[in-house]
C-alpha cells in the first residue's frame, strides 16, 4: 500500500466508508494480532483486543493526526486495549507458565527452538517489552515508539539499550537469574 492510497483510504473512512477502513487495516490485522498474542492471557483475549482496537480506530478516526504514522496510532490503541482486557482478567503475563494457557506458547508450538520473545516477556517489564517489540518486530523509529507509549525519546533509548543487554545475556546463556529489566 502506498502512502498516497493510505491517505485516500483514511479520508474515505473518515467520510464513513467501512469498506475503505477495512481495506486500510487489512495489512495491519495479522501484525496487530501477533503483537496482541504476546500481550494477552488467552488467544480469545487477543482476538477480542484486535476487534476492539479496530472498532475504536474506526469510531475515533476523526481524531487521527496525519502527522503520526497510521501504524503508530493503531498500535497506541492496541496497547491500551490489551492492557484493559488483561486488567479485567487480572493475569500477569510472566505467570503464564502453562503452555496450554499461554497463547504465545500456543502460537510457537511448531517451532523446535526456544522463542526469544517468551524470554523477553519473562525478563522485561510490560512497557519495555512493548518498546522492544515495536523496535525489532515492527521496525518502528525511536520517535514513533515514544509516541505509541507516550514516553520521552530518551526513556525509549535507555530502556531499549537495557533490554538489548538483558536479551543478549539471555540468548548467550549469561543471565544471572530472573531479574526484571526496565
Amino acid at each position: 500500500m502506498t502512502g498516497g492510497s493510505e491517505h485516500e483510504l483514511i479520508d474515505a473512512a473518515k467520510a464513513g466508508s467501512a469498506d475503505a477502513f477495512a481495506d486500510l487495516v487489512r495489512s495491519y490485522r495479522v501484525r496487530l494480532l501477533r503483537f496482541l498474542v504476546t500481550r494477552s492471557a488467552s488467544y480469545a483475549d487477543a482476538e477480542d483486543a484486535l476487534q476492539d482496537t479496530l472498532i475504536a480506530a474506526y469510531r475515533y478516526l476523526h481524531s487521527y493526526d496525519s502527522r503520526w504514522r497510521f501504524s503508530t496510532w493503531l498500535y497506541r490503541i492496541a496497547i491500551r486495549n490489551a492492557g484493559r482486557i488483561r486488567s479485567q482478567n487480572i493475569v500477569e503475563l510472566a505467570d503464564l507458565v502453562d503452555e496450554e494457557d499461554d497463547p504465545l506458547q500456543h502460537c510457537i508450538r511448531a517451532s523446535e527452538t526456544e522463542n526469544l520473545w517468551v524470554s523477553a516477556r519473562r525478563i522485561l517489564n510490560d512497557e519495555v517489552f512493548i518498546a522492544t517489540w515495536l523496535r525489532y518486530a515492527e521496525d518502528m523509529s525511536i520517535n514513533d515508539i515514544s509516541k505509541a507509549l507516550d514516553r520521552s525519546d530518551s526513556w525509549t533509548k535507555v530502556n531499549l539499550l537495557r533490554a538489548r543487554k538483558a536479551l543478549d545475556a539471555e540468548m548467550n546463556g549469561n543471565n544471572d537469574g530472573n531479574e526484571a529489566y526496565g
Binding site: A13, K14, G16, A18, F21, A22, R29, V30, L33, R34, V37, T38, A46, E47, L50, Q51, L54, I55, Y58, R59, Y60, L61, H62, S63, L104, C107, I108, A110, S111, N115, L116, W117, A120, T132, W133, Y136, A137, R164, L167, D168, M171
Partner: protein, 134 residues
C-alpha cells in the same frame, strides 16, 4: 543487522497467528454497524426564556442598589465637616523662614563677638598711636 536483532525478527515472524474467517466476519460486522464519530463542535447553548427575565431583574436590582448606595454616600459626605486645608503658599514658604531664623540664631553671637573684637583692635591701635605721639 546484528545477531540479536536477527533473532528477534525471526522469532517474531515465527509467532503463528491467523485472522480466522469467524474473526474476520465479526470485525466486518462490527465495523458495518458503527458510525464514525464526527469532530465534536461546542453545541450552541440556547438559554431558556426565563433566563432573560432573571437576568433583567438582577440587572435592574443591581442598578437600584447602586443608586441608593451612591445617594446615601453623598448625604453622609454632606454632613461631615471638612478639615481646613492649609494654603499651598503657606506650606511652601514655612520651611524657608524657619531656616533663616535658625541661621540667624546660630550666627548672631559670633557676629557680635567679631564686631567686639574689631572694636577692641581699633581702640588698641588708637592707644598705641597716642602713646608714641603720632
Amino acid at each position: 543487522m546484528d545477531k540479536l536483532t536477527k533473532q528477534l525478527k525471526r522469532d517474531a515472524a515465527r509467532i503463528d497467528v491467523q485472522v480466522s474467517d469467524e474473526l474476520d466476519r465479526r470485525i466486518t460486522a462490527s465495523l458495518q454497524g458503527i458510525t464514525p464519530q464526527m469532530p465534536e463542535r461546542p453545541p450552541m447553548q440556547r438559554r431558556p426564556p426565563v433566563f432573560w427575565w432573571a437576568s433583567s431583574l438582577t440587572g435592574a436590582a443591581a442598578a437600584i442598589l447602586l443608586i441608593v448606595m451612591l445617594n446615601s454616600r453623598t448625604e453622609l459626605h454632606d454632613t461631615t465637616i471638612e478639615p481646613k486645608q492649609m494654603s499651598p503658599v503657606a506650606v511652601a514658604t514655612a520651611p524657608t523662614i524657619q531656616w533663616k531664623a535658625e541661621s540667624a540664631m546660630l550666627t548672631g553671637p559670633l557676629q557680635q563677638e567679631l564686631e567686639d573684637l574689631q572694636s577692641d583692635i581699633k581702640k588698641a591701635e588708637e592707644k598705641v598711636k597716642r602713646d608714641i605721639g603720632l
